[in-house]
Assembly symmetry: C2
Homo-oligomer: 245 residues x 2
């Protein structure tokens, strides 16, 4: 179908179901973290999914392609980013399954009052607000720094929107793991599965994928490590499978 | 030197500094977890170390051999186990560097009142008290189940004995990770380093090694995964290095 591109925008092929995505490299492009989160999150047939801080819409677009979930909602605070994500959804003919909502995730439980999601996912900004931040209003700053929301906002709103047994999936930096566990604990989201992502097998993890469940017992499973490269520039087989090459 | 062996006891070679250890297979033999913890714990020159629940004394014996720590104390509740550990220390001529103390680790901060350790290590029982437990008074039950102490006892007493900046090293099961983080947080021990141990590269972790520090900022490093076997029955190079083969 035809799609209107604005200045600076480009269309990238997602190598899955023929789906494509509109991005503006001068603003923000999705990263491997979003792709790995969409591979890590389990969405069962008929389930509903909310993505907090959806940006380009990459996570609902990939999850709709990969799973049998019934409906996907992406919440995004930046108006032009939300509008661009909506155009990507239309470009892929996914309008029946994906809705992009413009709004502040700090108010997610108010925005979606009365709704209930089986699954909530988030690829939030990793960096504490004032960590080397030069331009706090730029789209890149909003995507990468805790300017518009912080870890606690995301976990609090997710706990408020998930039913008992509902699942929360997060990608973040391992260095924040103690904060993440403390915050999940405070909002009664129980960490159930954790997967470290290492650039190489002999290097520290630089991402961590976490599944938590609302309520339920304490019993965590530490998945096999996810190793990105088997050699410089050569992805491990599992990474290429997640990317769908 | 000569050493008196009691019925059922045997002497095993530790493949390090010519050190040996007395064990009684009918009671309890040390496992890979103790060896990996002794390889993970960092002990700097001149530092003092306490091992909570030392059992056979394996951890102070290995740490004395591997590090330049000045003095090592092992606390053990079972009298005959403590006595056996002391005989191993004597067997290796380590009496000037290692002391085995018989006592209840739930009272460690009282037993060692006024003392201060730079490093505390523990390879505690992993299993919750009533998890499939048949004979709660057996040495095996005391070593494996939280009969004589639980996770909170160990973390509370460690926090009480460590100075600011003092380091705590624990080996445990990944499934208890949320408990461990919550408990460390409650006693102001900050998790600083975490290493998952996987039997094979594509299998979930079955052990986790944790370093925490008393006080200090929140910043965790997730070490490369430690993979035990590169093929069935064949240890990875790093494991044989830790074992000192």
């Amino acid at each position: 179908m035809d799609v209107e591109l604005k200045e600076g925008e480009r269309i990238d092929d997602l190598q899955r179901n023929g789906y494509r995505i509109i991005q503006n490299p001068a603003r923000f492009c999705f990263g491997m973290d979003a792709v790995l989160l969409s591979g890590f999150a389990e969405v069962k047939k008929g389930e509903t999914v909310l993505d907090l801080g959806t940006g380009t819409g990459i996570i609902p677009i990939l999850l709709e392609g990969r799973t049998q979930g019934s409906y996907f909602t992406g919440l995004e605070i930046q108006e032009d980013m939300a509008e661009m994500a909506s155009r990507s959804v239309a470009l892929n003919g996914q309008q029946e399954k994906i809705r992009i909502v413009r709004g502040d995730l700090r108010e997610a439980s108010r925005i979606f009052r009365g709704a209930s999601f089986d699954v909530i996912v988030s690829n939030p900004p990793y960096m504490a607000e004032n960590q080397g931040l030069k331009n706090p209003d730029s789209p890149l700053a909003i995507a990468r720094h805790e300017v518009s929301c912080n870890l606690e906002d995301i976990i609090r709103e997710s706990a408020g929107l998930l039913p008992d047994g509902g699942r929360f999936y997060l990608v973040h930096r391992p260095r924040r793991l103690a904060d993440i566990f403390a915050c999940l604990n405070a909002y009664h989201l129980e960490p159930k599965r954790l997967r470290m992502v290492h650039p190489f097998a002999d290097r520290p993890a630089n991402m961590v994928l976490i599944e938590a469940r609302r309520g339920g017992g304490r019993f965590l499973k530490a998945d096999p490590p996810l190793i990105v490269y088997q050699a410089p520039g050569v992805y491990h087989r599992e990474i290429t499978e997640i990317y769908g090459y």
